[in-house]
Symmetry: C2
Subunit: 321 residues, 2 copies
């Protein structure tokens, strides 16, 4: 037995907003004890009412002798939160997060001296809402998480995070690098937010346009109508990757504008683009042994779109090709 994976880890969730709150509610719903903490007293009171064990201070929460601490605070607060936690724990505690960018969070973990016990995580779920009141266990039900590791990620810490996702949360984990994650979310999340923001700005508040607006407009601006500040924080935290994609979009649109203005063919623009691969997969049991080069093998599978669906004491079990 390489890892002791069956024991339910004691989990502390720091930050009880939409994602942290949903995770805490999921744990409560599954009958797992969970300690939670949030800087907002009203949120702490609501979480306590919902069955979460809520101490008064961050220090008390972290001293609850957890196996796993989930840092679920906003991106701007991650570095400060990790620095505080680092002073209160030893290196046996696994640290993970739920942030929508991963390189910046890993940088924060390194700055706090937590790099050897940090495993990145990002549940691919969300709504325009925020806060504990909007949180619900179902938000995280049967979803895909990204889990990011490095060439030196510790096997016990990785196993705890994968156990939380695949066993406790009954979801699946795509194991990839920070860079792969940040490039992928720039394409599927950050660029959509940029384009929705631009669309809303150009449509403006003209009475005719507003009155005639139909489905495609509402869909295209949904993410921008709620939480432009949150969009901005995500995109600025992933500046370099986003800058490149936004520049590519700008170039393509400039060419299209020229071709439209000069009555030229626009097939090159409209005939591109394929739908990304579907979520539907065969869930068969390809396995990766913890004793082998599991990091490289798990990343290879993740890069091909194959997720970890469970773990055992000996193996990671992944979707077949």
């Amino acid at each position: 037995m390489v890892i002791a994976h069956r024991q339910q880890p004691a989990v502390v969730v720091i930050g009880l907003g939409l994602i942290g709150g949903s995770l805490a509610k999921l744990l409560v719903k599954g009958g797992h004890p969970v300690v939670g903490w949030d800087p907002d007293p009203g949120t702490r009171a609501a979480a306590a009412t919902a069955g979460v064990t809520v101490p008064e201070t961050l220090a008390e929460a972290v001293r609850a002798r957890p196996d796993l601490i989930v840092v679920a605070v906003p991106l701007r607060a991650v570095a400060q939160t990790m620095a505080k936690i680092a002073d209160l724990i030893d290196d046996s505690v696994t640290i993970t997060d739920v942030g929508s960018v991963k390189r910046q969070v890993r940088d924060a973990a390194v700055a706090a001296g937590l790099q050897d016990q940090y495993v990145g995580a990002h549940p691919m779920a969300g709504t325009e809402l925020s806060g504990f009141a909007a949180a619900e266990a179902e938000l995280l039900d049967d979803i895909t998480w990204a889990v990011t590791i490095t060439a030196t990620t510790d096997v016990r810490h990785a196993a705890r995070v994968l156990h939380l996702i695949t066993k406790t949360a009954r979801s699946r984990a795509l194991v990839i690098t920070d860079q792969e994650h940040d490039e992928a979310v720039a394409r599927i999340s950050h660029l959509p937010h940029v384009l929705a923001t631009e669309l809303l700005a150009i449509a403006g508040d003209a009475p005719v346009a507003g009155r005639l607006a139909a489905g495609s407009f509402r869909d295209g601006t949904r993410v921008a109508r709620h939480g432009a500040t949150r969009s901005q924080a995500m995109i600025e935290a992933n500046r370099d990757v986003c800058a490149e994609l936004v520049r590519q979009a700008s170039h393509d649109l400039a060419r299209l504008a020229d071709d439209l203005a000069q009555d030229r063919d626009t097939d090159w623009f409209f005939s591109r683009g394929e739908l990304p691969a579907s979520d539907e997969r065969h869930f068969a049991s390809a396995t990766i042994a913890w004793t082998g080069d599991w990091r490289a093998e798990a990343i290879e599978a993740g890069s091909a779109g194959r997720a970890v669906v469970s773990i055992t004491a000996e193996h990671l079990v992944i979707e077949s090709a």
Copy 2:
């Protein structure tokens, strides 16, 4: 009494795709006789089964002595269809359409010699689906139509189209100019299609991105995943207006890319943009007399986002400010 508005006009619908088919089904459902025609024999058979009177030829359909002909063929076929119709009718017959651009359709009406009897119309409804099988009366239920007129639009023809929309179809009509319409739909429909197409092209079919794609991505590409050809036709038919908006988007994105790459402030980008005015209006009875300068007054109301909700023999009834 300026117009004889209470008499149910005899309607012919040419082209029984998603919109034309839905209008025909709505008329059948309301107990109104409707003649329909489509070049596709299978569509004609399906429409006949659904209760539409369907002759074998376009000429027979047009000779059914209609008061109103709705040209609901694809944009690329409008000019040819109008030319054929023009040879078969006199100037007492009202011609309207359902096209998603209006200047091009009016040009076709002028080319066919139908300019004095043409009133533009565009129901703001749609799905990714197409064809008579996808058509349903409910698609046009309680929606906003754009109705486009000129400084010389004939009162009887305008009244017939407004009667069809507000009385027969129980919807409302925003009376505006062709130019106002084409600028508004470029903002709320054509530009969203362009950005969705670009988003899908940039996201590509990378396995990681495809696997992690969540709601905002699916929403942002919905219109591009279905019917890129239809998007292209709409946008090319509205080239000049679209070119200008696409160029504006390109400029904004180029500036954003620079600011992201150089770690500069991006507030200017994310703090713009207000949601267009809501659909919610007070439906009180402001009126415009047919005997006055109804064209200018209706366009003034339409430009302010106030729609025609009914007509009487003496008045257009519009939403109050």
